[in-house]
Structures are given as structure tokens and as C-alpha cells.
């Protein structure tokens, strides 16, 4: 899947989960940039991504994506590897 298309698809999942049509994501976007991206919203996001892309995230991966230093770029990279 081309990177732009994946980013667009992930962005639409973000907009749906956070109920905000104004959300614009890029690789540098972090949890601090999106209102309401707490631990519970993070799980809702993962569930929605699993459904949208038909992939599974491991417990350790979910935790890593929420850790300091992670951003949307880490999420896209992980998704790309799962979809490859």
C-alpha cells in the first residue's frame, strides 16, 4: 500500500475514534498533539485499526506505541510491516 494512502486511511480511523473531522496526522504527531489520546483512547484506536486493516497488535507492541518517544510514524511503520 502506498504510504500516502496508508496515512490517509489511518487518519480517517483517527477522525472516527476521536470524533474530530479536523484531525490531521503526520509522522511526527504524538499523543500530546491530539486531545483525548489517553490510555483508553489508545486501545480504542488500536481496536479500530485492527478492524480496518485486519491485523493484530501484540500486547508489547500496544505498550511500545504508547511509550515516550513513539509517534504516528512508529504506528505507520508497524502497520506497514504487518501489511507487507
Amino acid at each position: 500500500m502506498p504510504i500516502e494512502s496508508l496515512t490517509d486511511d489511518v487518519q480517517s480511523v483517527f477522525r472516527h475514534v476521536f470524533a474530530d473531522d479536523q484531525i490531521e496526522i503526520c509522522e511526527a504527531t504524538t499523543a500530546a498533539d491530539i486531545d483525548g489520546w489517553d490510555s483508553l483512547a489508545h486501545l480504542n484506536l488500536i481496536i479500530a485499526l485492527e478492524k480496518r486493516f485486519g491485523v493484530k497488535f501484540a500486547t508489547a507492541e500496544i505498550s511500545r506505541l504508547k511509550a515516550d518517544g513513539s509517534n504516528v510514524g512508529s504506528l505507520l511503520e508497524m502497520l506497514r510491516r504487518k501489511l507487507a
Binding site: D35, G36, S39, L40, L43, N44, I46, I47, A58, T59, A60, E61, I62, S63
Partner: protein, 414 residues
């Protein structure tokens, strides 16, 4: 044996000074492995307990290897359930007396560091099942589980992080100022445990005795004010005792591990400045809070939300309560920890309920401003701290004494 024993500490410092003279990672691993073995033998009460420990560790290793070769969720579920059942029996949880014959609990087995081994073992088998562990040599696994820097009371390290350091065992810093900082941390840790925590415990015991006595200590004028002051000492000094004791222990083991090339995770981050109970558990015993989040809350919530997505928001509170109820109950086998667990579960679930209530009534923009208000922050910290102190009232195993002190204080006051 105590790790605050002067001979143990001196031995640790001498060993750390010569350790990196050993050539190559194998010799260093051997040195640490001997330390781990000596530690296990020093704390193991008898041969039967050592055999039980070997069986416990071997079962985890075999199951993890099987799951790496053939990921099977049913095997994982059966093994984890079996491990938890074995854990509560080995720890002789008092509530089991309601369901099981006393003879089953009447054993003398005591596996050193079992509570923390349980967490590490669940993490290893779950990660093995989910393809998150690339290689699992028995030598690395054994030393991960018996690592003397986390054996007795954590911090709970992840296998992957341990293996990274274990396969290198190089000095973590060659900067003299950094190394000095590590030694200073060890010294401060020992000071916290042997001086500050002991002083707080002595004060707590004095306050409890004074409130119980009803005699000279609290007689004369202003008796109510004196009773109130003594109660406040009783109320605040036990949390202070636990904090200095546990954070001091963590300073010691995290610092000591660094001297041997192992980075243990941090366990404390200004815990009494948490703005709610969820925040508190990411600051106090952080590695436990994060473990519970990853291996209890996350799978439970995802299973529920995946099946009943329209009810996920309300069922999240049940998950919060259950996860942190378990956190509390895990701390000990006596009845008081059941109350400790219930209070923690209520505190965490209430924090989430309150957040949702504010979001629903006032909206996200208002909530953002609410979080930024210094006054609200100070009030939240104050309320959370006092709620934590209330939960810790039920931390000492002698609940009868705690309740008698509370009753005695109420009688003096009213």
C-alpha cells in the same frame, strides 16, 4: 539475611569495582549468575522450596518455548490460569480457606521472589505466544528470572530489555561524574531505608500506641487537639515509611545493577504528586502499574470492546476496577489486602468516571483548561494524596490493630 547488611553492601561495591576487569561477556555473565545463585540460596528457606522454584521456572521456560514454536491461545490461557492458581496456594491466600480444605494450604513451601516471578513469567509466555520474543536461551531466561537486582521486590523488568543488556554487559557510562552519581544513589537508597523509613515507622508505632493507650500520652488540656495531632502522625507516617523503604530499596538495586551493566527500569516518579489514582499508579511502583495495564487491563478491555463495542465505554470502568483491585490484592495474602484492593479499584474507576462526567458536561476544550488550572491541579493532588493515605491505612497486615486505633481515636475526638 538483609540486603542492607554492611557485608553484603561492601561485597557489592568491591565486586562492582573489579567486575569490568573480567575479559569478555561470558565471564561477566558467569560472575552475575554466581551472584544470582548465591542470592537465591541465601534466601531459600529449605530444599523443598528450591525444588518448587526450579519446577516453577522450568515450566515457564518449556511453555514459552512451545508457544514460540506453536502459538496456541488455549495453551497460554490454561498455563496462566494454572500459574495463578499455584501462586495463590503457594502464597496461602487467606480467602482460599473459604473454598479449599485447610490441608492444601498447610504447606511450608516459600519461593523467594515468587510474586515478581509470576509477573515476569506471565509476561514471557504472553510475549512468546504473540511473537514478541525472538530468542529465549535457557541461560538468559534463568538469569532474567533470578536476577538479584529484581528478585526480591522488583522493579519488574521486561525480558527483552534484560536480554539486551545481558548479551553486552558493558559499562553503562565511563564518565566519572555519572558513575559517582550512581554510587550516590546507592548511598541515598540505603539512607532512606535504614534511617528515614525506620524513623517514620518508629513514629507510626508511637502514634498507634499513644492512640491505643488512652493514658498519659494523651491526657491533660487540649486532649482532642493532641489526639488529632497524634492521629495525623499515624495517618501520614505509614505512607512515608513505605515510600522511603520501597523507593530506597529501588535506588539501591537500580544503582547497583547499573554498576554491573544492567539497566533496571525506574519505579518511582514523585508518586504523591499524582493528580488522580490512575496518574498515581503511573508514578508509584510504576513497573507494576504498567504491567497491570499491559497484561490485565489491555487484554480484558480489548476482549470486551471487541465483542460489545457499543457498551465498551461503560464496561471500561469494570476493567479499571478489576485490574487495580487485583493490583491491591496481589500485595499480600491477608484479608486487609482485599480492602486495599477494593479501595484502589474504586479510586481508579472513580478517576475515569469523573473525567468522563466532566467531558460529557463541559466538553473537551473546557476540560483542557480545567487540567491546566494550577488551583485544580493542587486540589487534585491534595485529594489524591489523602485517598492514597486512606488506602495505605489497610496496608499493615494487622487490620485489627488499625481498626482499634481508628475506633480509639474517634472516641477521644468525640
Amino acid at each position: 539475611m538483609s540486603i542492607y547488611n554492611v557485608y553484603f553492601l561492601a561485597g557489592l561495591l568491591v565486586a562492582s569495582a573489579v567486575y569490568f576487569w573480567l575479559p569478555g561477556v561470558r565471564l561477566r555473565q558467569l560472575c552475575l549468575a554466581l551472584g544470582n545463585a548465591a542470592f537465591v540460596f541465601a534466601f531459600a528457606p529449605d530444599a523443598q522450596s528450591l525444588v518448587a522454584m526450579v519446577l516453577w521456572l522450568a515450566s515457564g521456560y518449556v511453555v514459552a518455548r512451545v508457544l514460540m514454536a506453536r502459538p496456541d491461545s488455549r495453551l497460554l490461557a490454561i498455563y496462566v490460569a494454572g500459574m495463578v492458581a499455584a501462586f495463590v496456594i503457594l502464597k496461602r491466600y487467606e480467602f482460599l480457606e473459604l473454598f479449599l480444605p485447610r490441608s492444601i494450604l498447610d504447606h511450608s513451601l516459600s519461593i523467594v521472589g515468587l510474586s515478581y516471578m509470576l509477573f515476569r513469567q506471565i509476561h514471557v509466555v504472553v510475549d512468546a505466544r504473540q511473537g514478541q520474543i525472538e530468542s529465549l536461551p535457557f541461560w538468559t531466561y534463568l538469569n532474567y528470572q533470578t536476577n538479584l537486582f529484581g528478585l526480591l521486590a522488583g522493579p519488574i523488568q521486561r525480558y527483552q530489555d534484560f536480554a539486551d543488556d545481558w548479551n553486552r554487559l558493558e559499562p553503562l557510562s565511563t564518565d566519572a561524574a555519572e558513575i559517582l552519581k550512581t554510587y550516590r544513589r546507592i548511598f541515598i537508597g540505603v539512607l532512606k531505608v535504614v534511617a528515614l523509613s525506620e524513623a517514620c515507622l518508629a513514629g507510626y508505632n508511637w502514634a498507634a500506641a499513644s492512640l491505643l493507650s488512652g493514658g498519659q500520652a494523651l491526657s491533660g488540656p487540649f486532649v482532642r487537639w493532641r489526639a488529632l495531632g497524634t492521629f495525623l502522625a499515624f495517618f501520614y507516617l505509614y505512607p512515608a515509611y513505605i515510600y522511603f523503604n520501597f523507593s530506597g530499596y529501588c535506588d539501591l538495586v537500580i544503582g547497583a545493577a547499573r554498576l554491573f551493566g544492567i539497566r533496571m527500569p525506574e519505579n518511582f516518579e514523585w508518586p504523591f504528586f499524582g493528580r488522580n489514582m490512575i496518574d498515581y499508579w503511573t508514578r508509584w511502583h510504576k513497573t507494576l502499574g504498567l504491567w497491570i495495564r499491559d497484561y490485565v487491563f489491555t487484554p480484558m478491555y480489548m476482549a470486551i470492546a471487541g465483542r460489545w463495542s457499543n457498551r465498551a465505554a461503560s464496561l471500561a470502568f469494570v476493567c479499571y476496577f478489576f485490574a487495580f483491585f487485583l493490583t491491591g490484592v496481589w500485595h499480600g495474602s491477608t484479608w486487609n489486602f482485599l480492602i486495599f484492593g477494593i479501595l484502589n479499584g474504586i479510586g481508579v474507576a472513580a478517576a475515569k468516571l469523573w473525567e468522563n462526567h466532566l467531558l460529557k458536561r463541559r466538553g473537551r476544550l473546557w476540560y483542557k483548561q480545567y487540567l491546566q488550572s494550577k488551583l485544580i491541579r493542587a486540589a487534585s493532588i491534595f485529594v489524591t494524596f489523602h485517598f492514597v493515605c486512606i488506602t495505605i491505612l489497610f496496608f499493615p497486615a494487622d487490620m485489627h490493630k488499625t481498626l482499634t486505633v481508628l475506633r480509639s481515636f474517634a472516641m477521644k475526638l468525640f
